[in-house]
């Protein structure tokens, strides 16, 4: 196929390209010498991450696994890694960016003389992309890939995204969709008059607050991660914290899963530990919901949801994480276990529709009732 190598390459592109080429040349040299070509890929498991007490982020350890071609269990993944590397090389050459799903289709085909596909589904290609990221120490966006965007934003902030200036105070009911890639070369902060950032777990809660014009009254940026935060949302949050020097408050459900969403924003995740440096915001504040809000706000019984066995197991696991070793966190997690129930942020509507906007959040902010 005719390749258009016309696209202008940035320095960053040139560097990524040379990393990919180095990987390929290394394999070719190894096999040329009659040895088993291998890729060194750092292990992305709990056993190979460590909590850096000083930086207060989760970092990937040095343990790596050698992925060999002449090994029945690894040959397929070895091949897939190179298919993705080659696909990324083409994207860089052509100056295009595709989603990880599109990359799956770019590299998927049937092997000659068999019914076997290079990739059977996206669940196979996504981890390979992450392997390549750690394997050559390149970021996803440097590979010209992005994940599906997730997360909404509205508030007292003006940004410039790929040349378009956007006033985030004029986004109507829908808000601004946070792009998957939020790197400074494409996304720039133009003007900021917000005093803090409120990030909520659920889109419905964000919608409640947006309809109530919370961000206008409190002069802030209102964001939702729509569940577990995607890379774009995390990167944006980190940039706002560092570049705009704004405090960040997080509001999640009162259960171990909600707390883990906060935890990932704060010190990074196990799977993307190699990205923690760019994504974790160690001083992000846990606004709620706290196990102790039940009494503080005299919540009705209707707000309770009984803890499942799974919830308790997960809570115990969290208590063991080094970054939750602090007394206040132990107390918070133990509080939920002792309550025997969990609460969704939505349960604040048992009081009244705008209780959350008018009383819960303002009171928590006023009382500085948060954990950090």
């Amino acid at each position: 196929m005719a390749k258009s190598k016309t696209a202008k390459k940035t320095d960053r592109d040139a560097e990524t390209l040379s990393k990919i080429q180095k990987l390929a040349r290394q394999a070719l040299t190894q096999v040329g010498k009659g040895s088993n070509p291998a890729l060194e890929i750092r292990t992305r498991t709990l056993s190979n991450v460590a909590f850096n007490q000083k930086k207060r982020i989760i970092e990937l350890g040095d343990r790596s696994q050698s992925r060999e071609f002449f090994n029945v269990a690894m040959a397929r993944k070895f091949m897939q890694t190179f298919l993705v590397a080659s696909g990324c090389k083409n994207l860089i050459d052509e100056g295009k960016t595709v989603s990880i799903r599109q990359m799956f289709y770019m590299t998927k085909h049937t092997l000659e003389g068999s019914s076997e596909n290079t990739f059977e589904d996206q669940n196979e290609s996504d981890p390979i992309i992450e392997d390549l990221e750690v394997g050559i120490d390149a970021l996803r966006e440097e590979l010209h890939l992005f994940a599906n965007r997730r997360g909404l934003l509205v508030g007292k902030l003006t940004v410039n995204d790929a040349g378009d200036t956007i006033d985030l105070a004029r986004m109507g009911r829908g808000g601004w969709g946070i792009p998957s890639i939020c790197e400074p070369d494409q996304l720039k902060f133009v003007k900021n008059s917000a005093e803090f950032i409120l990030c909520v777990e659920k889109q419905a809660v964000w919608h409640r607050l947006n309809e109530d014009r919370f961000w206008e009254k409190h002069n802030c940026v209102l964001m939702t991660s729509e569940g577990q935060a995607a890379r774009g949302a995390r990167r944006l949050l980190q940039r706002m914290a560092v570049e705009l020097k704004l405090p960040i408050y997080v509001l999640v459900d009162n259960d171990p899963w909600g707390l883990y969403i906060y935890s990932v924003l704060k010190q990074g995740s196990i799977n993307l530990a190699y990205e923690s440096m760019r994504m974790a915001v160690p001083n992000v504040r846990f606004l709620g919901m706290s196990a102790y809000d039940y009494k503080k706000f005299a919540m009705p019984k209707a707000a309770e949801i009984k803890l499942t066995k799974e919830d308790i197991t997960r809570a115990e696991q969290m208590k063991a994480y080094p970054w939750f070793k602090d007394k206040k966190w132990q107390r918070e997690i133990q509080g939920t276990i002792d309550n025997g129930f969990k609460m969704e942020v939505d349960s604040l509507l048992t009081k009244r529709i705008s209780f959350i906007t008018e009383e819960y959040i303002p009171k928590k902010l006023r009382d500085k009732d948060y954990l950090q």
Partner: protein, 604 residues
Amino acid sequence: MSSSKTDSEPLSMPPEPKRRATAESMASRQREISVSEFFTKNRHLLGFDNPAKALLTTVKEAVDNSLDACEEAGILPDLLVEIREVAGPTSAKVGKLKEADAGPGGGPSRFRVIVQDNGPGIVKPQIPKIFAKLLYGSKFHRLKQSRGQQGIGISAAGLYGQLTTGKPVVITSKTGKGRPAFQIHLRIDTKRNQPDIVQEDTVEWDPEHGTRVEIELVAAYRGGRTGVQEYLEQTVVANPHLALTYVSPKGERTEFPRVTSELPREAQEIKPHPHGVELGMLHAMLADSPDKSVKQALVDDFSRISPAVAASICQMAKVNPKTPADRINGEDLERLHRALGQVKVMAPPATAVVPIGEALLVEGLKRRFPRAEFYASTTRPPSVYRGNPFVVEAGLAFGGDLPLDELAEIMRFANRVPLQYQPKACAISEAVYQTNWRGYELQQSKGSLPQAPMAIAVHLASVWVPFTSEAKEAVAQYDELLREMKLAVQECGRKLAAHLRARANADREMKRRGLFERYIPEVAGAISEILGLEKKQVEKPFYNALPTFAGTSDEPGDGNGGAGPAGSPAPASKARPKDAPPPPQAGVARRSPKPRGEQMTLLE
């Protein structure tokens, strides 16, 4: 109705007395019973109990005799076996045999069995005695490995033919070039156990020497495990030096050319060994030496008894060594017998036993199973059973066109003669059953034969084969024999297992190789794209490295379980080509023959 009635019918015996007889009246009926009469009453003991078996036994006795004669004369045997169906009424007597005995294919009919060899021939005066006198032969009176043992076989076959068809046996024999060929028609006088020459001619006969036996009998031709065809095919396996032509009743001609021109080494005749002699035999031996002292008789008539050993035997038996041999009787004889069984002597010479040999047994198996995938064989070192030296050997053919999903086939041989009846009673079958074939990568239900495309041959060579009955159908299960048989079968099993494991490894290697071969174009394509190289240029080093990695087993943690089961064979054993049998000498090294207790000497 009863079988005994059927058996007695051919004899015109007087009716059973209805009253108690007096001693005098009994004495009037007491007379010598001729062996021929004995035979007609007890033919089931000799293998003539039904028409199908009678045919097999007739062929078998004639072939055994021919092979023994050829080998003794040092002639490579060329045999013709022909069975012709002939017109003529079947004997009423045999016709009354139960239908079931006749087997499939309807009732019995008349057959003419012709067995011709290129042996040394028989001198004319001996012909009638050999073929028409029961218990006449050269083999009964000596201890030497041979096919026939009692000298009853061929004359019994002739007698059976005579009884069922009334036809005499026709013998043609010639002892050398330029000598006349005699053709003699013989009957047997059943009362006197004497041959009766019906007709005698000198005829023109092309062969330089040899013997041709023709017997007409009422019989049934049957296929399958107990058939004549099976007998001949198995004979061909155990006798690689035999060239055989077989013409079936349908006129089909099958040729089995010989696969070796090496005659089996001549078995040496040995004297009885003190540990194996029976009391009656000892008595007869001593009685036959009237001019000797006991001591001298022992030294002369037994193997491994030196004058010193004889003296100590006499001492143990509390018998004066100078007593004339024929005067030893009663308690003296019993003590002497006991002393003979206890005295420490060397084992009998192993030269008396001639095995087929590992290489030739494989050649023999190939004659019957030319398209098997794997052959193995084992010849055990000589061992001793009750003073009789013996050697057990086993061979197997596996895979190829042998039937899958069936139980393995056992071929049993005693002194190269196939045993076709009574497999369940035989030590050979027992040895195969008792072997744990699952340990050799085969499927086997408990107490059953392995289920595999496999034929197993076990051969017992001995100067004296302990059969379970006079019909010589099954080998008695004596511990010493069973142990050696199991060891032989197990050794073949181990060779097979090594082959099967090597094959499984090769399969795994093919699979691994296939996997890598599938991915190489992809990896090479990607790398060439990244580096801007020609794909072929990148593929080449990968294909070059492939052989190195396709064979080796993955390291642990491979997850695929590529590693073979524990104890997979060393790479050296993989190298053996699939079709070639294991080199007999290079195979499992022969263990030095050290049978427990008794020490064996190998004179070769």
